[in-house]
Symmetry: C2
Subunit: 102 residues, 2 copies
DNA sequence: CAGATAGTAAGCCATATAGCTTAATATTAC
DNA sequence: GTAATATTAAGCTATATGGCTTACTATCTG
């Protein structure tokens, strides 16, 4: 195996689709987007009824998938949506409109 | 099942995104599409190395999500992709290009 | 009819996921 | 420094998922 850094697309798809599989995580993305693209972890956690530690974990999943990034500002973490990453999904979907044999 | 189209969208998203979360299921859809839109259960199972019973289950998940339908033809089941259902995903993605406050 | 073929169903098991709770860490406020 | 605040980390548990294997059903062939 060649040396790292070369994330094959396949794995990326994997992370992204898995991340989008949970309703809470999709909601985080939507909320984030409609709130201007960035929110603190606390603000994000506040939209859910479940324990905020649970949200923390969802944020980690989203970040691993590249759908979010965060930045430390004092004692807060500001999460920012990475819209670009969502294009991966669009790309995948595009397969179904091209090169069709039918 | 010729009833209504009363399924709340939310649940539908849930089923579709969950179905797409597994690489084998995404692959089924792609293979099906690039093979002309329909294949028998056996042909689909043949593309995988895992037991075909496992594929059967994946097919069930995809069908529940509305991404496939099947039709009995003799002792074979012919699975057909429902491309239209994939538009749900596109619709969801579209949220991120509209009405932005930023 | 028997036997082969195409496929699903059901049950078992290991692992993953997503809640929870209880720390722990870091920063700001006093 | 101590306390409060913002947040993550770690560990527990229940449930879901996705493999497997072993039936079982239905259809076609002779």
């Amino acid at each position: 195996m060649a040396h790292a850094e070369r994330k094959p697309r396949v794995d990326t798809y994997e992370l992204v689709f898995a991340a989008l599989a949970h309703p809470a995580r999709r909601r985080v993305l939507l909320t984030l987007y409609f709130s201007g693209g960035s929110m603190t972890a606390g603000e994000i956690a506040a939209i859910f009824e479940h324990a905020w530690q649970t949200t923390t974990r969802h944020l980690r999943v989203l970040e691993r998938a590249g759908l979010l990034t965060h930045e430390k500002r004092g004692r807060m973490r500001i999460y920012r949506i990475q819209r670009k990453r969502l294009e991966l999904v669009r790309d995948w979907l595009a397969h179904f409109s091209r090169n069709a044999k039918h």
